[in-house]
């Protein structure tokens, strides 16, 4: 336990550890994408995470989200805080239990250089991306779009859309068209998003 200092991986070069430790990432939505992105970034030693969600943990979340039975009924922000503290207590966490809207998105997230869009509703995804990209000129958005169904995982890609927008997913599978959500495919999309975040942190020029 004496080695707990934010990153356990002793093979990481010091400059990599330092960059990760000083990074700040906001995660908007703590469902299948967001909860798993947060856990992965915490494991990698990202220094500070902002976790935003308005919902409580429900049994219907257990098929793909990072929560377990003891978390049922808790606010997702609280449950995820517990999970992350048990993985990497050195991560600094800020939590906001509210619904993100056009009106509050900039004040809640605009201070963060990287925002992960991890909502499940397409209207919310579009709203957040439009708002952040037009109002927060120094923020990069990494979005998840299309991770439902059990079709080929290789259809899930990371695409650079603009200098400040990356979209991960297959772009087409849709729960509203009857596609199901399975953990293995949702986590691949979450993994794309988390990896893009790490690239942005480590390759910043």
């Amino acid at each position: 336990m004496s080695k707990i200092n934010g990153t356990f991986d002793s093979r990481l070069p010091l400059d990599v550890k330092e960059k990760l430790k000083s990074a700040r990432v906001a995660i908007a939505g703590l469902g299948g994408l967001g909860s798993n992105i947060a856990v992965m970034l915490a494991r990698s030693g990202v220094g500070k995470l902002l976790l935003v969600d308005f919902d409580r943990v429900d049994t219907s979340n257990l098929n793909r989200q990072a929560y377990s039975i003891p978390h049922l009924g808790m606010w997702k922000t609280e449950a995820l805080t517990q999970i992350i503290k048990d993985i990497n207590p050195a991560v600094e966490l800020e939590t906001i239990c509210t619904k993100i809207t056009t009106e509050n998105a900039t004040s809640l997230l605009g201070e963060y250089p990287i925002v992960c869009e991890a909502f499940d509703k397409p209207e919310q995804k579009a709203m957040l991306i439009s708002t952040i990209l037009s109002e927060c000129k120094n923020t990069i958005v990494v979005s998840g779009n299309g991770m439902a169904s059990y079709s080929d995982c290789n259809k899930i890609k990371t695409k650079k859309v603009t200098e400040r927008l990356y979209i991960c997913g297959d772009g087409v599978s849709d729960i509203e068209k009857g596609d199901i959500l399975i953990a293995s495919r949702v986590l691949i999309c979450a993994g794309h998003q988390a990896t893009k975040v790490i690239q942005l942190i480590l390759d910043d020029e």
Binding site: G29, G31, G32, L33, G34, T102, A118, F119, D120, K121, P122, E123, K125, A126, M127, I129, S130, T131, L133, S134, G144, N145, G146, M147, A148, V161, T162, I167, G169, G171, V172, S173, D174, I175, E176, K177, D179, L181, V186
Partner: protein, 64 residues
Amino acid sequence: MVAINGEKVQAQGKTIGQYIEEAGYNKDRVVVEINMEIIPKDKLDTIILNEGDSVEILNFVGGG
């Protein structure tokens, strides 16, 4: 002609909102970029497409 998602389309003179609806998109589920600039949702019905504009319409789907 206007380049929309890489295709040349006769859409000059229309508002971007008009084009989006005619093309079958749901205005609440897209992010629109014209000439590399993100267009806020409340301006979709006022911005008119001009000859030579380059437009990207990003369509979002459900699941997360």
